[in-house]
């Protein structure tokens, strides 16, 4: 099945998660909101999943809301805050589009990022200070880890500034890319809301988790049967939620060990490429990055062409985000970081995960070196 280096796009499901969810796709099919014994069994599994997620995230079970994924969580935090509280939404320029497009949609303010792709703390403070009584800042959304370049935001510093200069604002973090590599118990206490996507940590697609802290009220996006304490209506995706909880538990238990193993693989990947071809820029210094992401830019080539040759060699990677048509778009993240187009045209994201092996790294190095040489000849 080739060399898969696109774990940040989606990582394979954990075997434990598939095993845990299977009964609920098969004979345990009751709706957990029902009032009979069969329904109560589903409800029990759902409640256990919620407890497990809360334990892993360091929050109360009642603060866990199951959603359809990261995009829904991001939308809920931003649109839900502005619809409930009015005011202005704020986010940095390198956010995922699920945050950025929401903030733009409600005419919010976009804050600068620094050259590693995390929020410019001085600019954040400046923006928060300019808020007025008529136009208070009601929600600030800052990603914990950047999905493209892998840089880690110092959330403690962000929280300090937001609490000081916009004490009434909801602080939300898109932690979708953090789950695999960062102990979320260190982040959850700093924020009012946090969103995750299950398929980024070995759960299924179409399931997410949003933490909404007690006392922080967001307008729901979806109305209906009042599930999730009226915060998110719709019949529970029981099997998906159970798999999500299991995947998160496994991720949490293996995180420390996996981080060490994957960091070694990633560093070897980049070091060996750099040893064999010139004109390679490591976009963000390693100390600012999560273990799973290698983001490098090659001078003198175009990543659409590079990705085609890698694809032909059965090496699966990605560049910037793709638009609805599937075309590569110039990266808004690299543009916000101030990376020159001559570099960003040749940007490549190689993302590693729990199934990545030494043999895959060997294949990837040789395919990348040969593709780069072909394109530069």
């Amino acid at each position: 099945m080739g060399t898969y280096l696109d774990h940040a796009a989606s990582t394979p499901m954990r075997a434990e998660a598939i095993e845990a969810m299977t009964p609920y796709l098969d004979h345990m099919y009751a709706n957990p909101s029902g009032s009979h014994r069969f329904a109560r069994e589903a409800r029990k599994a759902l409640d256990e999943a919620r407890d497990l997620v809360a334990e892993t995230l360091g929050c109360k079970p009642g603060e866990v809301v199951f959603t359809s994924g990261g995009t829904e969580g991001d939308n809920h935090a931003i649109l839900g805050a502005v619809r409930r509280l009015g005011g202005v939404a704020v986010c940095p320029a390198a956010e995922h589009h699920a945050v950025l497009h929401c903030v733009e949609h409600v005419n919010g303010v976009v804050v600068r990022v620094n050259n590693v792709g995390t929020v410019d703390l001085e600019d954040l403070q400046r923006v928060l200070e300019t808020a007025t009584e008529e136009q208070p800042i009601t929600v600030v959304s800052v990603m914990a880890v950047n999905n493209e370049v892998g840089s880690i935001t110092p959330m403690r510093d962000v929280a300090r500034i937001v609490r000081k200069y916009a004490p009434n604002a909801i602080l939300h973090t898109d932690a979708v890319q953090a789950a695999c590599w960062v102990d979320l118990r260190e982040i959850t206490p700093l924020v009012d809301a946090l969103s995750l996507s299950a398929h980024k940590f070995g759960g299924p697609k179409g399931v997410g988790v949003t933490v909404i802290k007690t006392g922080k009220n967001l307008e729901p996006l979806i109305f209906g049967g009042g599930q999730e304490r009226d915060r998110r209506s719709g019949t529970h995706n029981v099997s998906g939620i159970i798999a999500t909880a299991k995947a998160l538990e496994v991720t949490d238990k293996t995180r420390a060990e996996e981080s060490v193993r994957v960091t070694k693989l990633r560093d070897r990947l980049v070091d060996e490429i750099r040893a064999q071809v010139d004109g390679v820029l490591e976009t963000v210094p390693r100390e600012h990055r999560v273990p799973g992401v290698a983001h490098i830019c090659f001078s003198g080539l175009e990543n659409e062409a590079l990705l085609f040759l890698l694809d032909q060699a059965d090496v699966y990677a990605s560049a910037a985000s793709a638009c609805a048509s599937g075309a590569m778009e110039p990266s808004h993240v690299l543009e916000a970081m101030g990376v020159e187009r001559s570099w960003s045209n040749g940007a490549l994201r190689l993302s590693l995960g729990h199934t990545t092996t030494d043999a895959e790294i060997d294949l990837a190095v040789s395919a990348i070196v040969s593709a780069v040489n072909q394109l530069r000849r």
Partner: protein, 363 residues
């Protein structure tokens, strides 16, 4: 051979891909994303990409999307806008072929190790006894597109395939139906892809350049009316000139951009004896010398216009004068003018019409 086929999401390029696959080639489909702005016509919309991808899946070939929107802006859209400012009538689809399909895409294809680029144009590449590649008209007279791909020189012709050029449009549709392709009954695209049907050229240009009001005058200089946008006036135009009806039909016979003046006159004033064409691309550069001794040609100056008898005078490697056998209506500057051989079978050269054509009678 390893062939990269440009798939717009239309029926011709769908069948082109199918023909290549059936002939045993290793085929990869690619859809070029060219226009990022709003549009409701033409190719390259998300739904067209969906169609191209689905056809590729049905044919079991890989499908890619290349984003060439920066190049499209630079080589097609920006010059299109500037041409209107300069009083020239551009042909953006031909410039897209010149700069995107048969330059940017073929360059990328070479880099990626493909042996040829293919498109769904109705034209043929044939090789004569001397080994020269000839861009030959498509088998379907009514659908022939050799005019819009006239800019291919020997190097590009050697690298280009037109797999549906030997088929009629009806046969193309039959093949698509036989294969169950979802594009089988899709209508032909007619319009410029970046101009929306609802807003038209006027809205598109109006959002990008200020329109200049212009005086409409008779040939003797007497005032006749006014137009709101000089940039939208083309030679030969009859409507929208703000002149009263009645009397002989009046045509735009001259667009005087520097002086913001539109000259109108009767049809007879539109006729010209000759036409200068520059930016010539020769299909085979050896034809320059051949035409010095035997200079009869046929000349086509619109996508589906007739090929008109004329002789040519070589003014330079990239410039010629066309001397019409019989006077012809003036060709708007900026239009593509393509020379065919005397049996009207293949392209000799093509270029862009210049403003300085010689009037029939200068009294």
């Amino acid at each position: 051979m390893k062939v990269l086929v440009a798939m717009s999401g239309g029926v011709d390029s769908s069948v082109a891909a199918a023909e290549l696959k059936a002939a045993g080639h290793e085929v990869v489909g690619v859809t070029m994303r060219l226009w990022g702005g709003e549009s409701d016509t033409g190719c390259c919309s998300v739904s067209d990409v969906d169609d191209a991808r689905r056809v590729a899946q049905q044919l079991n070939i890989d499908h890619l999307v290349f984003n060439f929107s920066d190049d499209f802006d630079k080589h097609v859209v920006a010059p299109y806008v500037q041409a209107h400012v300069d009083g020239i009538t551009p042909n953006p689809c031909i410039e897209c072929n010149r700069h995107l399909k048969f330059d940017r895409l073929s360059e990328r294809a070479r880099l990626l190790g493909f042996d040829a680029v293919a498109t769904g144009h109705h034209a043929r590449v044939e090789r004569d006894d001397e080994g020269t590649f000839r861009l030959t008209r498509g088998a379907d007279d009514a659908k022939d597109q050799s005019y819009v791909v006239h800019m291919l020189d020997q190097a590009e012709l050697a690298y280009t395939m037109f797999p549906v050029g030997h088929l009629t449009k009806a046969q193309v549709r039959e093949r698509a139906i036989e294969l169950g392709l979802r594009t089988a009954t899709k209508p032909d695209s007619q319009d410029v892809c970046f101009i929306s049907k609802s807003g038209g050229r006027e809205t598109f240009l109006g959002n990008r350049i200020p329109f200049r009001k212009a005086e409409v005058v008779n040939e003797d200089g007497t005032p006749a009316g006014k137009v709101e946008a000089l940039e939208l006036v083309t030679i030969g135009q009859r409507k929208g000139l703000g002149i009263p009806g009645g009397g002989p039909k009046q045509y735009v016979v001259e667009v005087d951009t520097p002086n913001a003046r539109v000259v109108i006159g009767e049809e007879a004033s539109l006729y010209r004896k000759s036409l200068v064409v520059n930016s010539i691309v020769w299909s085979d550069a050896a034809d320059i010398d051949r035409l010095r001794s035997q200079n009869d040609v046929l000349v086509q100056s619109s996508a589906h216009g007739a090929a008109i008898p004329a002789t040519v005078e070589i003014l330079g490697n990239q410039e010629i004068r066309v001397l019409w056998a019989k006077p012809q209506r003036a060709i708007a500057p900026g239009q593509s003018v393509v020379l065919y051989n005397t049996t009207n079978s293949y392209v000799l050269a093509g270029g862009i019409a210049c403003p300085d054509s010689e009037k029939v009678s200068l009294q």
